[in-house]
């Protein structure tokens, strides 16, 4: 496939999706240090929020090291070229959080819902669209759970509410390149030509780079990636790898590959609490189609109740749990421990 001269926008996730892998404990100092280095490297967009979006600070998802307001204020004022985005999940955060983030200086708000529930984003996208120069993005999570036709209905709903860009999000890292191609190409054909189209991958099945290239080939122009892959599960599409592949293919990202590699090696990998990689449990997320940020919660419950993380994850997949249902994990672990007679 010839994608030479195709221009895309790469959006970094390591300071938002990466919060999952860091149990939301990234310090303000590290946020500023990493985001400045990314700005230097020419990364055009950087997301900074609690892993579960604005208002995610909770018992259910974890209390972060600092408030979203503190992270956003600290990072926004240091950026020379990069634009900062925040994530918002209706049902967790509200338009009040969104207004706060706008006051802190974000340029993009990304409103995320489960892939079948786009209509809960109406309030937030409508408001986002009413604000001058705010980039309003709709983000459909767990997009592997429905087919391309159903997905397009939901994407169009977000477009109607006012999103100028919509995303197909492989939250479980379940999709294979053909799954991406069919969804992105139908979406590209059906959405308004001026609506941007994005893809967000996870690396649980080692497909994230190939999936992102497939997305570009099928018509996506925004790609989420994360320096060193720092993100939930086996991480996101590793940004430095994806950018290197883009260089070789002639896809234009505007990012300095060597600088991106250096940030990964020198700044982000040393920040990791555990190596974010494909192992038995993160592979199970992709294999069973489970929301990637469930990983550490399942590991903790498995340890506490003497269960196998994989068994918990497989059962969560079987029950068709969706993003945000972290509270289900301890409840399920208790059920499993009871039925095994260990509790």
């Amino acid at each position: 496939m010839d994608l030479r001269k195709k221009k895309i926008t790469v959006h970094d996730m390591c300071l938002r999706d990466g919060m999952h892998a860091k149990r939301h404990q990234i310090t303000i100092n590290d946020m500023v240090k990493v985001s400045k280095a990314m700005d230097e490297a020419g990364i055009p967009m950087i997301e900074v929020t609690h892993g579960d979006g604005l208002g995610g600070a909770s018992v259910n998802y974890g209390f972060p090291a600092a408030r979203d307001e503190e992270y956003l204020t600290a990072v926004c004022k240091e950026m020379k070229n990069a634009k900062i985005s925040a994530l918002l999940l209706p049902g967790i955060g509200t338009v009040d959080h969104m207004k706060m983030a706008i006051d802190c200086g974000i340029s993009t708000i990304r409103v995320a819902t489960h892939c079948t529930e786009a209509d809960v984003a109406e309030q937030h996208l409508t408001m986002a669209r009413s604000i001058d120069n705010l980039d309003a993005v709709g983000f459909l999570m767990m997009a592997h759970m429905i087919d391309a036709e159903e997905l397009v209905v939901q994407l169009k709903m977000m477009e109607d509410f006012g999103a100028n860009c919509v995303y197909i999000t492989d939250s479980a890292g379940y999709m294979l390149p053909d799954d991406v191609t069919s969804r992105i190409s139908l979406a590209r054909a059906e959405l308004k030509p001026e609506t941007e189209l994005g893809f967000h991958g996870h690396h649980n099945m080692a497909m994230s780079v190939a999936n992102s290239v497939a997305a570009v080939a099928a018509g996506a122009n925004r790609i989420d990636a994360s320096i060193a892959g720092l993100g939930a599960g086996a991480g996101n599409t590793p940004l430095e790898v994806f950018v290197a592949v883009c260089d070789r293919m002639g896809i234009e990202t505007g990012i300095d590959s060597f600088k991106a590699m250096d940030i990964a090696e020198d700044l982000v990998i040393p920040m990791m609490d555990h190596m974010v990689r494909i192992d038995r449990d993160s592979l199970t997320l992709g294999y069973a189609g489970v929301y990637s940020s469930f990983l550490l919660f399942a590991k903790r419950s498995a340890k506490k109740y003497n269960l196998s993380t994989r068994d918990i994850l497989v059962e969560l997949g079987r029950r068709r749990t969706v993003g945000g249902q972290e509270d289900m994990i301890e409840d399920l672990a208790l059920d499993m421990a009871k039925s095994q007679g260990t509790l």
């Binding site: 259910n60 209706p90 049902g91 489960h114 937030h124 029950r319 289900m328 301890e330």
Partner: protein, 302 residues
């Protein structure tokens, strides 16, 4: 029928219709009016068939005769945006209004926690918080009546089929109103509410998680007892209100995992979130009816 208080239901949708079916079994409430805006709507047609007076002209259509029809209690099952107007109009006709929308103009009412307060204060408008609030605030209160709760958080997971267009359009009102209810009725210093909509088929039964952070180390025995007692109180009007797991104690965290199955009157059993609203609304009306019948309270305008 002489010993029942007459009531009107505003909003013939899923909630209003389920409420109607429940109210017809009540020994204290007699539903006499169903108010809608669309004469063709199935809810209004059904209410007519069931022998109620109906109008498709909104509250205006009932106002001229509601006094002579003896309506003393109205249920508002419409939406937050029109509630204030409905409330004012029926209050002027001397009827109490029980608000099932998240408008929250009047004081919050969660029956096993503070219903008695609302009734003894003779409030002419009471608000039923939200479905998630009705399912979880009793348990926050069960912990806070034992010891100080500095933070109460609830996660309500409902099936996609049971989340109507009103909830979806105004999802922020759900999180805000529920969080406030956790503080005001639940007794937590700070409240937080999360709602998750899950499209799995067959639809999942409403599930709720309650997390409390206590100020001092939790008194495990007293909290466990209090939680079990509270569940029994809610079961009096929602039999399918079930403790799944917990209370789990982890440091100062107390977590309770619940499932709420509805009665399946008009709404399917999985929609426990809607059932607990209609059951709580009716329970509130019955308490008012008892006061009215005993001569202790006469609802009146202004």
């Amino acid at each position: 029928m002489g010993n029942k208080i007459k009531a009107a239901i505003i909003g013939p949708g899923n909630i209003g219709t389920d409420l109607l079916i429940k109210a017809q079994r009540s020994e204290l409430i007699e539903p006499v009016w169903m108010v809608g805006v669309d004469a063709q709507s199935s809810g209004l047609v059904r209410a007519t068939q069931m022998g109620l007076k109906t109008t498709a002209e909104g509250v205006e259509g009932m106002l001229p005769t509601m006094r002579e029809d003896g309506v003393q209690i109205c249920f508002d099952a419409t939406s937050a945006s029109v509630h204030a107007e409905n409330s004012q109009k029926v209050n002027e006709q001397g009827a109490v209004i029980i608000d099932l929308t998240p408008a929250a103009i009047g004081p919050f009412c969660v029956p096993p926690v503070n219903l008695v307060d609302a009734v003894t204060q003779k409030a002419m408008n009471v608000n039923m918080v939200t479905c998630g609030g009705q399912a979880t605030i009793p348990l926050v209160a069960a912990v806070s009546r034992v010891q100080a709760v500095i933070y109460g958080e609830i996660v309500a997971t409902v099936s996609s089929r049971s989340a109507g267009p009103g909830t979806r359009k105004n999802i922020d009102e759900f999180t805000r109103t529920t969080a406030k209810g956790i503080e005001v009725c639940g007794g937590a210093h700070t409240g937080k509410a999360i709602i998750i909509i899950n499209p799995a088929e067959p639809p999942l039964i409403m599930r709720d998680t309650v997390h409390c952070l206590t100020k001092e180390d939790p008194d495990q025995k007293a909290i466990t007892q209090s939680v079990h007692d509270m569940i029994q109180e809610v079961q009096a009007y929602v039999p399918g209100y079930t403790l799944k797991n917990g209370p789990v104690f982890d440091g100062k965290r107390v977590s309770i995992y619940m499932e709420v199955e509805g009665l399946g009157d008009f709404l399917p059993k999985y929609a426990g979130n809607l059932d607990i609203m209609t059951a709580a609304g009716l329970r509130t009306a019955e308490m008012y009816a008892e006061e009215i019948l005993a001569g202790r309270f006469l609802p009146q305008a202004g």
